[in-house]
Symmetry: C2
Subunit: 107 residues, 2 copies
């Protein structure tokens, strides 16, 4: 599984995106992350494992707690890949034949 596979499929789950949104506010432990969800702790642990595997978060050990925080690597990787699409899209936008085709398709 390529790293992009792991990253995109990690982001495909709304619970995991919500966890990331929470971590955007700052570090949090597993219990803190689990609290807003109507879901058991093991389920959250698994989601965190997926996020960590994708390089979207890191965890450190602090006694019995495992505080999580956002990691930049995966986001950079996505950005890089999306860059290819963005570039193609803006290039297409500038091409006259594409614009005309789009207009025809709209009617």
């Amino acid at each position: 599984m390529s790293n992009l596979d792991a990253t995109f499929s990690a982001l495909a789950d709304p619970t995991r995106r919500a966890i990331l949104a929470r971590l955007a506010l700052g570090e949090a432990t597993v219990m803190e992350l689990a609290e807003p969800f109507d879901m058991t702790q093991p389920a959250i642990s698994r989601h965190l494992k997926v996020l960590e595997g994708a390089g979207l978060i890191t965890r450190r050990v602090e006694g019995t707690k495992r505080p999580c925080r956002l990691a930049p690597a995966a986001v950079n990787e996505i950005d890089q890949w999306l860059g290819m699409l963005r570039k193609a899209l803006s290039a297409n936008y500038d091409r006259l034949d594409d614009v005309l085709a789009a207009m025809k398709a709209e009617k």
Copy 2:
């Protein structure tokens, strides 16, 4: 299923990302898209349906062909969501306590 769910899970598949990469070079028909893959035509048709459902491509009718092209909507949506993470990551990077914690974690 939120639109982000659809978009990210569409991108989680390497075949679909390859199809998008191909479309970044310009419009292509289903057969043209299927050709490089060791996979049957129905499988590709399905992938295209997923990409269309996610708003990543559009198709027009041209006789018996259905040429596909990239669509900007989904990419914009992703960019917007990733923006939240990017912002949080750069904010964290600037915070001294986070930097120190990261250094401690490294040892």
